[in-house]
C-alpha cells in the first residue's frame, strides 16, 4: 500500500503544485481558459455578438432546459447595458481566478465572459440512468429501487427514507485526476463520533488518481489490503443503507458509483438480505441459518470429498462408498486432480457467463450442463458423485447474498481443496483454523471483523444469528454503538 502511494506521490505532486500556484494568480480571461482547455474539442464556445459576450461550456454536461432558461433566453433578450444588472441575479456567480473557472466548467457550469469579468452559472444535468432494480442484490418482497451512478439521485433515495435533519452528509473530494466526490452519511447522536473521525482521517489521507467505484474506494481505506475478505460492506440498495444508518453505522457514497459502503462492518453482515426483514421472523431466521450452512458447504464440501476419497474412506457410509468407488474406478486421476479439473472448469464457465450477453450466455449454460455434466462422466474424466458435490457447492456459493464475499469464498475453497488433497481431514481442519485465525485478525475501522462472536456480545448474537421479531429490536449493535446512547438504545 504505502509502496504504491510512494510511487504515485512523486509523479503527481511536483507537476500539480507548480500549475496550481501558477493558475491561482491568473485572472480568468477567455484566452487563458481556452489555453487551459486546448485540444479539448468537446468544449463548446458560443458568442453573443450584439452584447459582446462569449460563453464556454461542455455540451454534454449541461441540461438543455436550464441552459435555455438561464443563458440563452436572458442573453438574447437583453441589450448590452443591461448585462451587469442581469448578472446581479442570484444564479450567476462572479469568479476571481482561472482555476475556479476551469473547475466550474468541468463540473457542468457555463462560464460567461464579459470583456472584464467572468461569471459562472450552473447548468449541470447530464443524461443518467434511471432508477432500476438491482441485478446483483435482487429481492422478492420490499423496495426494488437501487442506486444509480448519479450522486444526487442516490442521496435523494436515502433522504426520502430518512426524513430527519439528523441525517448529516459530509463531502470529500478524492482523486487527483478524477476529483470524485465522496459523501459520508450518518445520523447524528446515533453514530459513534470516534469511528467517524477515524474514517474522515483515512479518507483525507487517500492519495490516488481516480476513484472509479465505492468497492474500489474502500480498498484504499481498509486495514488489510492483502486479505481476500471484503472488509467494508457494499450494497446497491438504499433500504439496506438506511437500515445500517439507523443502527448507528456510517454510509459512504461515491460519485458515479451505484454502490454504497457502510462501516463498521462485520463478517456476519454479509449474510443478511433485506428479504429477511420482510419475512415472518421465524422464516427469516431459518433462511439466515440456511445461508450459514451454504457458507460451510461451499467452503468445505469439495474439500471433504477429496479428503474422504483420498484418505478417510471410513467416514463414508457403506452404501455410498460402494457407488462412489464404482464411479471413481474409471477415473484415471487422483481425487485432488479430478476435483481441481472440475472446479476450474466451473470457474471458467462462471466467468464466461458473467461477461457474455444473455443470448450467448444461454449457450454457455447448455455447453456447461451437457459437456461438463454428462460427457465428462461418460468419458471417465470425473466421477458422477464429484459432479454432484461440485454442483452443490457452486449452488451454495450463489446463496450467499453478497457477490464479493461469494467470490472470496471461491478462492478460499481452492485453498482448502489443495490442503485436503495433501493432508486429508487434518489439512482441511488446519485450513479452516487458518481461515478462522485470519478472520479474527481482520479489523474494520479498528473494530473486530468477527465482532459479535469475538469479542462476544451475546445480545448482538441475537441480531446476527436470528432475525429477531421487529418489536424486540430495542438495541443497536455494540460494534457501531455511540458512547452516549440515546433513550431507545439500552
Amino acid at each position: 500500500m504505502s509502496f504504491f502511494r510512494f510511487l504515485l506521490k512523486d509523479k503527481q505532486e511536483n507537476s500539480q503544485r507548480e500549475s496550481t500556484i501558477h493558475k491561482q494568480k491568473q485572472k480568468p480571461t477567455l484566452e487563458a481558459i481556452k489555453q487551459e482547455f486546448s485540444n479539448c474539442d468537446d468544449l463548446v464556445e458560443q458568442s453573443f455578438d450584439q452584447i459582446g459576450i462569449t460563453i464556454l461550456f461542455f455540451g454534454h454536461l449541461i441540461e438543455p432546459n436550464m441552459f435555455n432558461r438561464d443563458i440563452v433566453e436572458p442573453l438574447t433578450s437583453i441589450r448590452s447595458e443591461e448585462f451587469h444588472s442581469l448578472m446581479e441575479r442570484k444564479q450567476y456567480q462572479k469568479v476571481k481566478t482561472s482555476d475556479d473557472t476551469v473547475q466550474a466548467i468541468l463540473k457542468g457550469y457555463v462560464a460567461i465572459f464579459d470583456k472584464k469579468e467572468t461569471y459562472i452559472v450552473n447548468a449541470f444535468g447530464p443524461k443518467e440512468r434511471s432508477i432500476s432494480q438491482s441485478e446483483t442484490e435482487s429481492i422478492i418482497t420490499g423496495a426494488h429501487d437501487s442506486f444509480v451512478e448519479s450522486m444526487n439521485t442516490n442521496i435523494s433515495l436515502i433522504r426520502r427514507r430518512l426524513n430527519t435533519p439528523k441525517l448529516k452528509v459530509k463531502k470529500f473530494a478524492i482523486g487527483d485526476l478524477s476529483n470524485t466526490s465522496v459523501f459520508l452519511l450518518y445520523i447524528e447522536d446515533i453514530v459513534n463520533p470516534d469511528l467517524l473521525k477515524e474514517l474522515e482521517n483515512r479518507i483525507s489521507n487517500v492519495k490516488t488518481d481516480i476513484v472509479a467505484d465505492s468497492s474500489m474506494f474502500v480498498q484504499l481505506i481498509d486495514n488489510s489490503p492483502h486479505s481476500v475478505f471484503p472488509q467494508f460492506f457494499t450494497t446497491e440498495r438504499p433500504d439496506v443503507v438506511v437500515n445500517k444508518l439507523a443502527s448507528g453505522k456510517i454510509a459512504g457514497l461515491t460519485d458515479h458509483s451505484p454502490n454504497a459502503f457502510t462501516t463498521p462492518t462485520n463478517f456476519f453482515e454479509f449474510f443478511e438480505s433485506p428479504d429477511d426483514n420482510n419475512q415472518r421472523w421465524i422464516v427469516g431466521t431459518l433462511v439466515k441459518w440456511m445461508r450459514y450452512v451454504a457458507f460451510i458447504v461451499t467452503l468445505c464440501f469439495t474439500a471433504l470429498y477429496v479428503s474422504a476419497t483420498t484418505y478417510s474412506y471410513e467416514i463414508i457410509p457403506q452404501t455410498i462408498l460402494m457407488s462412489l468407488a464404482e464411479s471413481r474406478d474409471r477415473v484415471p486421476f487422483p481425487p485432488l486432480v479430478e476435483a481441481l479439473i472440475l472446479e476450474i472448469a466451473l470457474e471458467l464457465l462462471r466467468e464466461a457467463g458473467v461477461r457474455l450477453p444473455t443470448k450467448i450466455g444461454q449457450t454457455i449454460g447448455i455447453v456447461g450442463g451437457i459437456v461438463i455434466g454428462q460427457a465428462a462422466v461418460d468419458a471417465g474424466l470425473v466421477s458422477n458423485t464429484l459432479i454432484i458435490v461440485v454442483a452443490i457447492s457452486a449452488i451454495s456459493s450463489f446463496v450467499i447474498p453478497n457477490y464479493i464475499l461469494s467470490a472470496t469464498l471461491r478462492i478460499a475453497r481452492f485453498m482448502l481443496i489443495i490442503l485436503a488433497g495433501a493432508f486429508g481431514n487434518f489439512g482441511l481442519v488446519v485450513g479452516l483454523v487458518l481461515l478462522i485465525i485470519h478472520l479474527g485478525s481482520l479489523t474494520n475501522l479498528g473494530t473486530p471483523y468477527v465482532n459479535p462472536v469475538a469479542p462476544m456480545h451475546p445480545k448482538d448474537l441475537l441480531l446476527y444469528f436470528i432475525r429477531p421479531p421487529h418489536g424486540m429490536k430495542k438495541y443497536r449493535p455494540t460494534q457501531s454503538i455511540s458512547p452516549e446512547p440515546d433513550k431507545r438504545q439500552k
Binding site: S224, H226, S227, V228, A308, T309, T310, Y311, S312, Y313, E314, I316, Q318, L321, M322, L324, A325, E326, R328, D329, V331, P334, P335, M415, I418, L419, A422, F423, G431, L434, H438, S441
Partner: protein
C-alpha cells in the same frame, strides 16, 4: 510481510514437500465388509495357531459379474492374514469398514479371547463391529452366492441389525462382548447364524461362558430369553394352548409387546440366595381363534393367566438350561454381587458352584392392552 502472504507461502511449501504414503484412494482399496475366522484342524491350531481367515470384499469393477470378492487364507492372526490376503487382490486391503466378524463354531468353543485381542487393539475397528457366531464353519456361511442376495456381507449385517431391533437376538458389538467377558457377574451372548437349505438365516442365540461357547438357544426360545433379559418394546410371540371345547390348540398372537423386568435378590440367614425375576408385559391380541370373548373382563383375565403360565413355563425352561450349562447370560451375578459383601463375593465360585444351585423364580404379569374391533 502480511499474515495472508505467509499463509499462502506455508500452504505452497507444505504442498510441495509433503510425502504422503498413507493415501487410501477409495477405488484402490479393498474394504473388507465381513470377515470370517475358523478353526479347521484342532491339532494344527494347537501347534501352529493356524486359522482359516475368509474375507468378503465388495466388488467395484462394473465389468465383474460377481458383486463381491471372496478371498481366504491360512494365517496365525488377523494381521498376518491381511498380508496373505493382499497377495490375492489387486487392491490394498483395509479393515476400516468391517461390519461383522463371523466366528466359526469350533473356534468359539475354543475361546475367543486370543482372537479378539487384535480387534480390540487396532483403533480402525469401530464400535459398529458386530460379533456373530456361525453354526458350523464361518467360511461355509460366507461362501455360497445367492442370485437374490448379491452381497452376503451386507445381507448378514442388515439381517443382524434388523433382528436386534426386533429384540429376537442380543446385540453383541465388539466392546459389549468384551465387557461381558471381563465381567464376572455376566456371560456374553451373541447372535448365531447358519447356512442351511440354501439360505443364510438366524439360528438362535449363542451362549458363552466367559469367552467359550457352551450352548445355544433355539430361535423360538429367544423371545422368552428377552423377556428375562431386560426392558424392551417391540416384537411379538405366538402362543398356542389348550382350551375347553376346542380340539386343536388355540393360536394366540401377542404383539406390540412392551416389557419391563425387575430382579430381586434375597439372601437369608443360611446364606441361601434366592432370585426373583418379575416380568411385566403389555401387548395387543392380534390373533385369537378360541371361544373366549375378548371384550369380557373375566375372559381377558383368563387369557392373561394363560399367557402368564405359558411364558413362565418357557422361562423356567430357559433358566434351567442356563443353570445346567453354568452360563449366566442374564447377568444375575451382577445383582447378586450388589447384595453381597465384596469379600463374600470374591471368596465364592459364582459361576461353577453357586449359580447352578440358586433358586430362581419367575413371576410374569401379562396384560392385554387391546384386542381389535372384533370380539
Amino acid at each position: 510481510m502480511h499474515v495472508f502472504v505467509k499463509i499462502v507461502a506455508v500452504i505452497f511449501f507444505v504442498t510441495l514437500i509433503t510425502g504422503c504414503t498413507d493415501k487410501r484412494i477409495i477405488e484402490e482399496i479393498a474394504f473388507i465388509n465381513l470377515m470370517g475366522l475358523d478353526l479347521v484342524n484342532k491339532e494344527d491350531y494347537e501347534k501352529n495357531r493356524h486359522l482359516l481367515v475368509t474375507a468378503s470384499i465388495p466388488q467395484i469393477d462394473p465389468a465383474a459379474e460377481a458383486k463381491r470378492e471372496l478371498i481366504f487364507t491360512n494365517a496365525k492372526s488377523d494381521k498376518e492374514a491381511m498380508l496373505n490376503l493382499s497377495r490375492k487382490t489387486n487392491r490394498t486391503i483395509v479393515s476400516g469398514k468391517i461390519k461383522v466378524i463371523l466366528f466359526g463354531l469350533d473356534l468359539a468353543k475354543n475361546g475367543l479371547n486370543e482372537n479378539l485381542d487384535t480387534f480390540e487393539r487396532d483403533p480402525i475397528f469401530g464400535r459398529q463391529v458386530k460379533i456373530v457366531i456361525a453354526n458350523g464353519l464361518a467360511h461355509d456361511v460366507m461362501k455360497p452366492e445367492f442370485a437374490e442376495k448379491p452381497r452376503p456381507s451386507t445381507y448378514i449385517d442388515k439381517l443382524i441389525e434388523k433382528e436386534t431391533k426386533m429384540n429376537s437376538i442380543p446385540e453383541a458389538l465388539l466392546f459389549q462382548f468384551q465387557r461381558d467377558v471381563a465381567d464376572d457377574g455376566k456371560d456374553p451372548a451373541a447372535p448365531m447364524i447358519t447356512y442351511a437349505d440354501n439360505e443364510v438365516k438366524i439360528d438362535g442365540i449363542a451362549l458363552f461362558q466367559n469367552d467359550k461357547y457352551i450352548t445355544k438357544l433355539e430361535p423360538d426360545m429367544s423371545r422368552y430369553f428377552f423377556f428375562l433379559n431386560g426392558d424392551f418394546s417391540a416384537g411379538a410371540i405366538n402362543l398356542s394352548f389348550e382350551e375347553k371345547g376346542k380340539e386343536s390348540p388355540v393360536q394366540f398372537m401377542y404383539s406390540a409387546l412392551k416389557n419391563s423386568r425387575d430382579i430381586q435378590v434375597k439372601v437369608n440367614k443360611q446364606e441361601e440366595i434366592d432370585v426373583t425375576l418379575t416380568v411385566n408385559i403389555v401387548g395387543s391380541a392380534l390373533e385369537y381363534n378360541g371361544n373366549m370373548d375378548l371384550g369380557k373382563a373375566e375372559d381377558q383375565l383368563y387369557l392373561e393367566k394363560k399367557i402368564e403360565e405359558n411364558i413362565e413355563k418357557k422361562s423356567i425352561e430357559i433358566i434351567k438350561t442356563l443353570q445346567t450349562n453354568k452360563v449366566d447370560s442374564l447377568g444375575l451375578g451382577r445383582y447378586v454381587r450388589n447384595k453381597l459383601a465384596y469379600e463374600k463375593w470374591k471368596s465364592m465360585d459364582w459361576q461353577n458352584e453357586v449359580y447352578p444351585n440358586i433358586n430362581i423364580h419367575v413371576e410374569v404379569d401379562a396384560k392385554i392392552k387391546d384386542y381389535g374391533l372384533r370380539t
